[in-house]
């Protein structure tokens, strides 16, 4: 804890942990598919922050920014696919509830 960057790591690290908690809670609890995707987005925010924070503390800002940019592009692609799936489900079943996509089980 004698690293000069410790206070910054501590406060933003706390932010990361809390945001992760919010995201996981949302994904597990909500029954609305869009809201579940929003929960996943919140999780990604937390991870982006953690990546940048770790780069900052390690003194590797250029690399951290590169990684963060890549992460954002990946995030967009995944979200496009996720929303496409969501629209497909909505068209086929007419529902946006996760309780209506429990036909595969057992």
């Amino acid at each position: 804890m004698n690293n000069p960057n410790w206070p910054i790591f501590a406060i933003f690290g706390l932010g990361v942990v809390l945001t992760l908690g919010v995201g996981f809670y949302c994904v597990m609890v909500t029954r609305n598919l869009i809201r579940a995707l929003i929960g996943l987005e919140v999780l990604t925010k937390a991870v982006t922050l953690l990546l940048v924070l770790c780069g900052y503390v390690a003194g590797r800002m250029a690399l951290a920014q590169t990684l963060a940019i890549t992460l954002i592009v990946v995030e967009v692609a995944v979200m496009v696919v996720a929303v496409s799936l969501f629209l497909g489900i909505f068209r086929r079943t007419g529902s946006i509830r996760s309780t209506d996509i429990q036909n595969l089980k057992g």
Partner: protein, 609 residues
């Protein structure tokens, strides 16, 4: 000894088997290839007979090598297996011709032979296991190609034999751990401590289960009904007995040093005695030619296990001698059953009768083999049984009583079988039955002749084939020739005479051969009193038979109970777990996320602490 000769007994039948597998037609080419393969195998077996050699193949390392050893004992088993395979093959030449899955039958039979040869030659536990498990596949395949519905029996056989093979595998691992080597001929473990004893028991289970001893027998009677008949003659009657008893002898003599003082010796003897009695009780009440024989195939294993279990030279010699004798007379009996089935179209004893006139040669073979299995002098079964009686009496008279009782019931059931099938009234639909074709008669005749030869001239097999197996442990004994104790012989003769009297009495009372032992089967526990009075002359006898019937019923329920454990209990437990787990999978992804996070929390907590 060259590597080629070493491998030939395995590769020749294997190649033959793979060659005939695609031959589906009725050209007869398939039969000829199979015959040639078995013939070549016999030639190789005889050529190898007096040579000793090992072959070691560098394999994956980690102590896993292929080691083959050809020595006196294995050469003897190889020659025997080769002879039976050739004869059964000859028998099948006509028998299987019209069957649709004949190609599979011949292929499985040849591959089985290859696997047995490999198992007998193996001198390394992993090599042994390889061939042993291979035999399991062909066993399943051979049963499955029987009549429709045989698949269930095939699975039953597979499960039972598979479980015992697992025991064998564990036993091998323990033996390997205890001795530090997996090469069989280098192991000489004492069975004094518990670990080694457990290893012995586990390996013993694998061996006696292959031989068909109780409590691993319950698939055999089912297979007798479902599988093609020559299957019974080749696998349960001869090849599996040879392999199983061979392994049991190897375990008792080489791998472990079984002594009469060890508690394992009585254990084996008890298994043997119980198998003899329970199985023969079951045999007695059967009304089907094949099924009756199949219970005898179990019962006779009891004698071999009993003999080897005595751990005395005379017992071991008797056990091995009984093994080869049994393989001869039981395959002969199954072949007569096959001939009857082929010519008369049924094996139901109630429909058969009076065939002796129509099929005299078949009957003659049956007569010889039945006398052998009943232990009538001077056929071969008599001599091996006398050796076993001798050994049993030496350990404890109760085992002798069990063995002798088994002989009584064996004789009674074969009198019933012979009477019901070959004498008595012939049903009109069997008026046109003719003698079996020569290719089916020849194997029976050869085996029957061998039964007589091994009996009358028993010094040849004993001195040349069996006694050398024991080597130094023989302690200079020679068991050839007439049994040394005349008293035991007289007891045997008395028991046989008792069986004949029992049969005559039963047949007179009930009026037919098939019902001659009904007083044992349906012995009344609470019949009206005057019925009792009518048969008063037999009273002391009836009581004894009531007890016998009671035990027979008990045997039946034990048999079913074992079946139940396999079929219901184990399966039920797994199914319950499965149902419970299925209920947990609700299809809700949120639940799955929760599991994953809980799992991750546990993992991270473990990593941190």
């Amino acid at each position: 000894m060259s590597a080629i000769m070493m491998w030939a007994p395995i590769l020749i039948p294997l190649a033959g088997g793979l060659l005939v597998l695609p031959m589906r037609g009725k050209s007869g080419l398939r039969e000829i290839v199979a015959l040639l393969a078995t013939l070549a195998n016999l030639v190789v077996a005889i050529a190898n007979f007096n040579s000793v050699g090992t072959w070691t193949g560098q394999w994956v390392g980690h102590g896993l090598d292929i080691v083959l050893l050809n020595y006196q004992f294995s050469a003897f088993i190889l020659a025997a297996a080769a002879s039976f395979a050739l004869l059964v093959c000859l028998f099948c030449f006509r028998f299987m011709r019209e069957k649709t899955s004949a190609n599979q039958f011949f292929a499985y039979m040849l591959i089985s032979l290859a696997m047995v040869d490999g198992a007998v030659l193996a001198d390394h536990l992993v090599t042994l296991l390889f061939f042993w498990e291979g035999l399991l596949i062909t066993l399943m395949g051979m049963i499955a190609i029987g009549r429709p519905g045989a698949f269930k029996t095939a699975v039953k056989a597979f499960v039972i034999v598979g479980i015992s093979d697992l025991c064998l595998m564990f036993g091998m691992a323990m033996a390997g751990l205890a001795s530090g080597t997996l090469v069989m001929s280098k192991m000489h473990l004492p069975v004094t401590d518990a670990f080694n004893a457990l290893a012995f028991v586990l390996m013993m289970i694998g061996a006696i289960a292959k031989a068909g001893s109780m409590p691993f027998h319950s698939w055999i009677p089912d297979a007798a009904v479902d599988a093609p008949l020559p299957f019974m003659a080749i696998l349960p009657a001869s090849l599996e007995k040879l392999a199983g008893i061979y392994l049991l002898s190897r375990i008792s003599l080489d791998l472990f040093q079984l002594t009469p003082e060890s508690w394992l010796s009585p254990l084996l003897m008890i298994i043997g005695a119980v198998t003899i009695l329970l199985a023969v009780m079951m045999a007695l009440i059967q009304k089907d030619y094949k099924k009756l024989l199949s219970y005898h195939a179990i019962s006779q294993v009891g004698y071999m296990v009993l003999g080897i279990g005595t751990a005395l030279p005379v017992g071991i010699i008797g056990g091995i001698f009984h093994m080869i004798n049994h393989a001869m007379y039981k395959s002969c009996l199954f072949l007569t059953g096959g001939a009857v089935e082929k010519q008369a179209g049924t094996t139901d004893l109630a429909k058969l009768g009076g065939l002796a006139r129509k099929m005299p040669i078949t009957f003659a073979c049956f007569f010889v083999a039945a006398c052998s299995i009943s232990g009538v002098p001077p056929f071969n079964g008599f001599f091996s049984k006398e050796l076993l009686y001798d050994a049993a009496l030496d350990r404890h008279f109760i085992f002798y009583i069990a063995a002798l009782g088994g002989s009584f019931l064996t004789a009674a059931s074969f009198l019933k079988l012979g009477h019901a099938a070959y004498f008595g009234k012939r049903s009109s639909e069997h008026d046109n039955v003719r003698e079996a074709p020569i290719t089916m008669l020849l194997p029976m005749l050869v085996i029957a002749a061998a039964c007589i030869f091994f009996g009358v001239h028993n010094s040849w097999p004993l001195r040349n084939l069996i006694q050398p197996v024991l080597g130094a442990r023989l302690e200079g004994h020679d068991f050839a020739g007439w049994p040394h104790s005349m008293r035991l012989v007289w007891l045997t003769v008395a028991v046989l005479a008792g069986a004949i009297m029992n049969h005559i009495a039963g047949a007179t009372v009930y009026g037919s051969g098939i019902n001659a032992v009904d007083h044992i089967h349906y012995a009344p526990l609470l019949k009206p009193i005057y019925e009792q009075a009518e048969r008063r002359a037999f009273d002391p006898y009836e009581i004894m038979l009531d007890v016998a019937a009671f035990i027979a019923r008990g045997a039946w329920s034990v048999d079913r109970a074992i079946d139940w454990v396999y079929n219901r209990l184990a399966v039920g437990a797994a199914m319950l777990g499965s149902t419970f787990l299925k209920l947990l999978h609700t299809g809700d992804y949120a639940l799955y996320v929760a599991w994953a996070l809980a799992g991750a929390a546990i993992v991270v907590w473990y990593m941190v602490s």
